[in-house]
Each structure stands twice: as structure tokens, then as C-alpha cells.
């Protein structure tokens, strides 16, 4: 079947198999920031924004995305600003989990989260094996303008 997606504001049309997963289709289209970390919707690494809201792209059929808007880190305006803060904290270790974390955190900023604990709870599904999270939290604190 043929689907139409709007990825990072660009219209993409692609033939897919009915069982194909959004994650794989996005990679086929060349959006390499979308990566697989688990097979079970547990790690948050494959996060994309689906009509503006974060979802794990490994757990969504591509067919469901027909006609919808997808944003990956390549097309996210605030990504660079947060990435800069992360890098200043050394929170970019292997970087594999970074795009997912960035998408989710930028979304938190958009919906006005300013409390670190709330942010942590919302980001609980974004796993990272390298950093031990604390450096991410230092960057998140700055990015969200957390007030103590």
C-alpha cells in the first residue's frame, strides 16, 4: 500500500507492506536519527513526534501514520539548543539515546513543564545506559528553566 506522510514538513510518499513499522519506514526514507534500542517499546530511543506528540515509533504501524505529521530530531527547531546544553554537561556519551531524549524534552518544554521531578517522571521511558542520567538532568534543568 502507498502512504503519504509529512515528515519534518516535507511530504513523503512511500509504498509499504501492511505490517511495516513506522520506525523502519522512517529509516528507509533516510531519517537515521530514528533508531531501535529494544523491540518492546521500553527504551524510548525511537521516539518521534506524531502530530506534535511523542510516541515510540517502534510500536506504531506505518499505515497508521498515513496522512499524519511526523517530526524527527532532524526537523526539530529546539533540538540544537538542548543538544548544546547536553554537550556542555558531557551528557552525550554514545549518543544513541539522545534523539529520543531530545524530542521528549523539547515536548516537555512546549507543554510548560518546569519541575525537574515531573520532567523525570515523564522521561522515565527514555532509558540511557551510558550517562547514568545525572548529566542529562543537569542539562534538562537548564533547558526547562527549572525553578527550585
Amino acid at each position: 500500500m502507498r502512504i503519504k506522510l509529512k515528515v519534518n514538513n516535507k511530504t513523503e510518499e512511500i509504498d509499504i507492506e501492511p505490517h511495516e513499522i513506522l520506525l523502519d519506514v522512517l529509516r528507509k526514507l533516510g531519517y537515521y536519527s530514528v533508531r531501535r534500542g529494544c523491540d518492546t517499546g521500553m527504551c524510548g530511543i525511537c521516539t518521534v513526534l506524531f502530530d506534535g506528540k511523542p510516541i515510540p515509533s517502534c510500536s506504531v504501524f506505518a499505515a497508521r501514520a498515513d496522512g499524519h505529521e511526523i517530526t524527527t530530531v532532524e526537523g526539530l527547531e529546539d533540538a540544537k539548543a538542548f543538544a548544546k546544553l547536553l554537550s556542555e554537561e558531557g551528557a552525550d556519551q554514545c549518543g544513541y539515546c539522545s534523539p529520543g531524549l531530545i524530542l521528549n524534552t523539547v515536548y516537555l518544554k512546549k507543554i510548560g513543564v518546569k519541575d525537574l521531578n515531573k520532567a523525570k517522571i515523564k522521561l522515565i521511558g527514555n532509558l540511557c545506559r551510558c550517562t547514568g542520567y545525572e548529566s542529562q538532568h543537569r542539562a534538562i534543568t537548564k533547558f526547562l528553566g527549572v525553578t527550585k
Binding site: 521500553m42 556519551q93 549518543g95 540511557c128
Partner: protein, 766 residues
């Protein structure tokens, strides 16, 4: 220092975070055949018959390989120096399968669908044997896991396949029994550590193709490209010169990628078909069919006088290497060599034991590498001793631990797989680590416990640890610096950045010597064709060993620049110097900028390319040290443990990039917390891994860790580059023991088996 000791941002930061195609799967040729592996459903069996005829008929299938189609050369997948201290007991494919998940056949096809279908159509008849699943029953089990005559060790490692023993080791100083008799207090306890999974988030990935010269090129997510090249050459009987291994960015390794995993399978397909191939492991495959940590059992006996002088340490261990003996001997020896010197004032010390085969997921290198297992045992036992003696555990440690300027006979006796290297510890600030840690955790106010409510108690506990900096006399690294015609430099290194930031750190070191900004150093790492040799990123070696090589190369480059600059200025070499920007006359006013000199050198005058290279092999392996303090809250109704604070104070010498060093420690601590509290490995009765996904195998999330507080104490290691020691592993070592000790101090129960689950605590309380 201008560049070193600065928080310079990682060179690849934005490329990594903003999604540039950098990992193996992103770089695999677009027309790669998809490779998948048919894996054994049985823990131990022999393939009687294998029928691929139906599978081959599926449209899109290009090749199916079984053990009959590949060379049967016994190798070890362990990426270690040569000759490897691990038994050669692994084959690309074999007629025996030794664990659930072991490789049976390689299937390659044009698309995922076809390959998946084909996997289902292969018919295998097995002769099933009784598996060895319990490592305590492995020795002299009626099933022999490696009955094949080809399996052998490269030198004496205590390999005894008919008894299911992959390696064994024993050493003793002094007379244990005699000394124990003289001791007023003796502690004897048995400890168990589990098989932790690495969970590097990029799954193991490899891709291969044949280049225009007919050579085999492998792109792989590996920590050890040069070892991969050598092992593939051995496995397939092709000369090293016909193989090129490229390491792109890696999504975490932690030791799990210090080996060959998917490389032989893609290589087999490419060699057979001439076509590009790629194999990206699923998460389930990573769990079931790559590496895990060696589970170990330790029987610890400690003897001391009444006033708390430790006189005897006796540790007898048993380690479970799973189906193959990768890192069997070395992780076991490290268990001794990276714990026993902590208490260097004893009269007698013994360390012995065996590493046995079982029909479970193979064990391999994992951050902490034996040290964390033994640290849990020894540092728990030490707390038991402190209870018996009625001495504060911190005081007991201070009285007995190693100090600067001291040594331990263990250093010389125990290396990794062979003798070690004698050394006197020139930097050891354990004392300061402990003092600082006590302050940060509030030891004096909180030890041993504070009751928070009727059901909740908080306790504090601690442990100390040491690691090493590379393997002395084995780990070798080299670096090449090349001056470009704009005055910038290429730094070519075989060292493998796994995400730690080592590319950046090594560039900082080169920049420091050359007096230029780190931006002027363009790093290219790990391509066996283009970069010089390096044993790889493991054993906490990169900063210390590779760093040294970079430092030496940069010093040579500086000399070359001065020499050529002097020529250009027409002054004697001794009269010239280089300040990073200009080559100038020391007491005169002639000068030329590096940029101008470089341009001239390449286009007009005295034309020549400036290249400097250097190699380094560590003569010793100075340990970084750490004191870890845990504050836990235990719910006595449910047994649940909440980690409130974890304080790690570290002596790793000079931190080349303090931010990156800190994150290394934080990351290590959190993995250690996972091992202490959550990460549990379970099998079915038939030996199939139950914890083969992230739903069943829980790693710490950001809500599980409490506050992690990391501090460095100031120290300078004279043998290290710029005073640095290593920082990669030490962070992981203390949490298991410190948390177990904190739980004991909170509720008086001693858990001796990791992970410390609520269930175990509750049972012990009742």
C-alpha cells in the same frame, strides 16, 4: 594547562545527537543482503541432520550456510592480545550447539521477509543431551560441553575440557592455615554475583562488502577493530592484509563489544556471494546470543586481630563462563588482582578457583571485569568483620588499606592471564576519598541507621575499590599526527571511542603539547587500513595507554615543526622554538607562523610532509581508586529498597576532561546500582533465557537512582599522560557492596547474593 583539564565539548557531539548517520546500520551499503541466524532451541545438542532445501527455494534467498560450508578453525571470539589467554573453543558454525541461542545456520536474502520465512523452513534434527545449567554442578558433570578434539588453549591456563573447566588459577603468599590460627576473629562467608547484561543501546551490528581490490571490508560496532581483523583472518584462513575493519561510531560497548559477534557471519555471506551483507542483532539476540557478565561464587575467609589488623585474606572462587571460555581466566584473575592489593598489610593471602563451562549464554568482558564480583564479596566480608570486631567499617578500612608509596606483591604475581608487573603506587588518595565521601553522605550523623517511620529505616554503607589503567606489558597503542597545509593536524589513532569521548580527550592531549586549540586537531579513529595499531578500548586503557602514545607523537611533531621552522628562518634549530602559533627565534625577532610554514612546506620550499608517530605500552597499570557511599531506605514491610544518595569520590589522577570523566563515573555507578538491586537473569528449566527483553530485564531508569554525587580528589600519577589514570571502569565497582552494607546497617540483614531484591530482604527479615 590550556587544553587538558578543560571541559571541552565532545568532537562528535552534534553529529551524534542530531541524528547524523554514524552507526554501523546507518552506514551499511544500501544493497546489503539481510543476514539472520538460525539459532538453537536446545541448550545442548548435536545436529544430526539439517535440511535447507525448502528454505533455499524461497524467493529472495541468496545463501544459506551450515557448519558444512564454513571452515572449522577453533578460535576465541574474545578480543584480547595474541596469543589469547582464552581457550580456542569457538567455530564459525559447529555441529554441536551449546546454549539456547547458539548459531546453527546463516541465512542471507534480499529482504527481511524472505529471510525470516527461510529461517522457519530449515529443518534440523538434533540429538539432545542433558545440559549443564548449574555452574556449581558443572565440574565432572556427565555432559561434556566441549568434547571436540580441536578445542585447545594457546598456553597453560588450566584448561581441562573433559571436566568442563575452561581455566583455573591458584596463588598463595604466606601460610593461610597457620596465620588463621593466630587470628582472634575469623569471618567465613559465601557470596554470589549474577550474570549482568550490558544493554548497550546500539545492538551488535556488522556489515561487510568486497572492495575494488577484492579485499574483505567489515564495518562493525566493535571495541577492538584490530583484534577483529586478526580473528576473522584466523577463522577463515585469509591473510590479514586482505581484510579491513572500520569502526564507525558505537552506541555503547561496556565490554560487550570486545569480541567478534556478527562479523564472521556477514563475512561468510560476503565471501560466499561476493555481495554486501549486514547483520543487525535484535534486542532479544543481544540478550540471548552475545555476552553477559561472568556469574561468580566466592568463599571468603578473613582473619584479624582484636584491634582490627587484617592478617589473612583467603578467597576461593568459581566462575561461570557459559558455553564458551571467553575471558574465562582473565576476568577471574582480575577478580583477585584488582581487589586483594587494597589490603596490602596482610601476612597471608590466597586466591584460587576454577572457571567452568555451562550450557548458558557465553560470558565475556563487562566493565568491572571480575573486579566488581570480587569487590562485592570482599567488601561485604570486611563489613561483617567490622561488626564482629565492633569497629566502624570506615575505621577498619583505613587501618588496613593501601596508601601512597606502598606496594603489594599481588601486582607482580597476578596479571591478566599471566604474571603482572611490579609497581609502587605513586598516586593513591583513598584516604581523602573516604574523608570526602563521609562528609558528603553525612556518615557521622547517619551511621548506622536512622528510623524514618514505623516501617521505614535509612542506613548508610560504604565500600572502597581499585581498578587498573590498561594491561601492563600487553596493551599497546600508537598514534600518528600529520600536519596539514593550513596548520591544522590530523590525529590518527587505533583507539576506539565507544561514546566515552576518548577521541576528544586524545585530541586535547595532542593540542596541549602542541600548544594549539583542540579544534585544530582533527581526529580519525579506528580503521585498520588507515590508523595505526591499538589493542582496543578495554581494561580502562584508552586515556592511559593511547593517551601516552598521543603525547609522544605530539612531542615528536613539535620537534619536527621547530626543525623545519628553523630551516625556513635560516637559524640553527637550537635557537628556534614553537609557541603554538609561531616558530620564532628565541633571542631575536625572526618568526614564521605555523600556517605559513605549512603552506610553504607543501607548495614551495624544502617541500615535505610532516608526520610524527609513536607507540606506547604501559610498564605498569596504576590503579584509580574510589570510595563509594550508599544511603538507602528500606521498607521493612515490603523489603523494598529506595536508594536515596550515592556518593562516589574518585582518585583517577588528573582528569583530562572533568565533565567527561564525571559522566563516566556516574554512568558506571548507575550500572553498578543496577547490578546491586535490579538486574536479574533468569532461565527456564531447559536453559532458555527468560530475561531476554527490557520488560523482563530491568535496568535502572532515571527514577531508580536517587541522587548521584561524584567528586574527584586531586592527585597526580607521574607515570600517566599529564598525570592521568583511567576512569572507565572504576565507577561500577563499589555499588553492590556499599548498598549491601547500607542495607545491613539499616535493617540488620546481610544479603550475600546479588541482586538484592525486596523478596530476599523480606525473607531475611522474617
Amino acid at each position: 594547562m590550556k587544553e587538558v583539564t578543560k571541559n571541552i565539548i565532545k568532537k562528535d557531539a552534534f553529529g551524534l545527537m542530531l541524528g547524523k548517520p554514524v552507526y554501523t546500520n546507518d552506514l551499511a551499503p544500501k544493497d546489503s543482503l539481510i543476514v539472520k541466524i538460525l539459532r538453537s532451541p536446545h541448550a545442548f545438542a548435536k545436529i544430526k541432520h539439517i535440511d535447507i532445501s525448502e528454505a533455499e527455494k524461497i524467493e529472495g534467498i541468496e545463501c544459506i550456510l551450515t557448519y558444512k560450508d564454513v571452515p572449522k578453525n577453533p578460535i576465541t571470539r574474545a578480543g584480547q592480545g595474541h596469543p589469547e589467554p582464552s581457550p580456542h573453543d569457538w567455530y564459525i558454525l559447529d555441529e554441536y550447539v551449546r546454549y539456547v541461542g547458539d548459531e546453527v545456520a546463516i541465512v542471507a536474502g534480499k529482504n527481511e521477509n524472505a529471510v525470516t520465512k527461510a529461517l522457519k523452513k530449515i529443518k534440523v534434527e538434533y540429538e539432545i543431551f542433558e545440559p549443564v545449567l548449574d555452574f556449581e554442578k558443572a565440574e565432572e558433570h556427565s555432559s561434556i560441553i566441549h568434547p571436540e578434539k580441536e578445542a585447545h588453549s594457546m598456553f597453560e591456563i588450566g584448561f581441562n575440557a573433559p571436566k568442563n573447566i575452561a581455566a583455573s588459577y591458584e596463588m598463595q603468599i604466606g601460610d593461610i592455615e597457620e596465620e588463621l590460627k593466630k587470628c582472634e576473629v575469623v569471618v567465613k562467608e559465601r557470596f554470589y554475583t549474577q550474570a549482568q547484561a550490558h544493554v548497550a543501546f546500539e545492538p551488535h551490528s556488522a556489515t561487510s562488502y568486497i572492495d575494488m581490490h577484492g579485499r574483505l571490508v567489515i564495518i562493525s560496532s566493535t571495541q577492538v577493530p584490530f583484534h577483529v581483523r586478526r580473528i576473522i583472518s584466523e577463522a577463515f584462513d585469509i591473510p590479514i592484509r586482505n581484510i579491513r575493519v572500520i569502526k564507525p561510531r558505537i552506541g555503547g560497548g561496556f565490554g560487550g563489544k570486545q569480541a567478534v559477534h556478527g562479523e564472521p557471519f556477514v563475512a561468510a555471506v560476503t565471501l560466499k556471494t561476493g555481495k554486501p551483507a549486514k547483520l543487525i542483532y535484535t534486542r532479544q539476540e543481544v540478550f540471548e546470543s552475545t555476552y553477559r557478565r561472568h556469574c561468580m561464587r566466592f568463599d571468603v575467609t578473613l582473619g584479624a586481630t582484636k584491634d582490627g589488623k587484617l592478617k589473612v585474606i583467603d578467597m576461593e572462587g568459581l566462575s561461570d563462563t557459559g558455553a564458551y571460555g571467553e575471558h574465562a581466566l582473565t576476568t577471574f584473575m582480575v577478580a583477585g588482582s584488582k581487589t586483594l592489593p587494597l589490603y596490602n598489610k596482610v601476612n597471608a593471602v590466597r586466591f584460587k578457583g576454577k572457571v567452568v563451562y555451562t550450557n548458558t549464554v557465553p560470558a565475556g568482558a563487562y566493565r568491572g571485569y571480575g573486579a566488581i564480583q570480587a569487590n562485592f564479596a570482599l567488601e561485604s566480608a570486611l563489613d561483617i568483620l567490622s561488626q564482629k570486631l565492633g569497629i566502624d567499617p570506615v575505621e577498619l578500612r583505613k587501618k588496613n588499606m593501601m596508601n601512597e608509596g606502598e606496594t603489594s606483591p599481588i601486582f607482580k604475581i597476578m596479571g591478566e592471564g599471566r604474571e603482572g608487573a611490579e609497581m609502587i603506587i605513586k598516586s593513591c588518595k583513598l584516604n581523602e576519598c573516604i574523608e570526602e565521601g563521609m562528609k558528603l553522605i553525612g556518615w557521622k550523623e547517619k551511621y548506622p541507621r536512622i528510623k524514618v517511620s514505623e516501617t521505614k529505616v535509612r542506613g548508610v554503607g560504604m565500600a572502597i575499590a581499585m581498578q587498573g589503567s590498561g594491561i601492563a606489558n600487553i596493551d599497546m597503542a600508537s598514534a600518528i599526527l600529520k600536519l596539514n597545509d593550513d596548520g591544522s593536524f590530523n590525529l590518527l589513532i587505533g583507539a576506539t571511542d565507544l561514546g566515552t569521548g576518548s577521541d576528544t580527550i586524545l585530541a586535547q592531549m595532542a593540542a596541549e603539547i602542541l600548544n594549539v586549540s583542540t579544534e585544530n586537531i582533527i581526529v580519525y579513529s579506528s580503521d585498520t587500513d588507515l590508523t595505526p595499531f591499538d589493542t582496543g578500548a578495554y581494561a580502562s586503557s584508552t586515556t592511559y595507554v593511547s593517551g601516552h602514545a598521543v603525547q609522544l607523537a605530539a612531542e615528536k611533531m613539535k620537534k619536527l615543526i621547530i626543525k623545519e621552522g628553523a630551516k625556513k628562518l635560516e637559524i640553527p634549530e637550537e635557537k628556534a622554538d614553537f609557541d603554538g602559533e609561531f616558530i620564532y627565534e628565541k633571542d631575536g625577532n625572526k618568526r614564521v607562523s605555523l600556517k605559513e610554514l605549512a603552506t610553504v612546506l607543501y607548495y614551495t620550499e624544502n617541500q615535505k610532509q610532516l608526520v610524527a608517530d609513536a607507540s606506547y605500552v604501559g610498564k605498569e597499570s596504576p590503579p584509580p581508586y574510589m570510595a563509594g557511599f550508599a544511603e538507602v531506605e528500606v521498607d521493612i514491610e515490603t523489603g523494598k529498597v529506595k536508594l536515596i544518595n550515592y556518593v562516589g569520590v574518585v582518585d583517577c589522577g588528573v582528569t583530562i576532561n572533568p565533565n567527561l570523566a564525571k559522566v563516566q563515573i556516574e554512568g558506571g555507578i548507575v550500572q553498578g546500582i543496577g547490578m546491586a538491586l535490579f538486574e536479574d537473569v533468569k532461565y527456564t528449566q531447559n536453559g532458555k533465557l527468560l530475561t531476554n527483553n527490557l520488560m523482563n530485564y530491568k535496568i535502572p531508569s532515571r527514577m531508580d537512582i536517587g541522587n548521584i554525587i561524584v567528586k574527584f580528589v586531586e592527585s597526580y600519577e607521574p607515570s600517566g599522560p599529564f598525570g592521568a589514570k583511567s576512569v572507565g571502569e572504576i565507577g561500577i565497582d563499589t555499588p553492590p557492596a556499599a548498598i549491601a552494607n547500607a542495607i545491613y546497617n539499616a535493617v540488620g540483614v546481610r544479603i550475600t547474593q546479588l541482586p538484592i531484591t525486596p523478596e530476599k530482604i523480606l525473607n531475611a527479615i522474617k
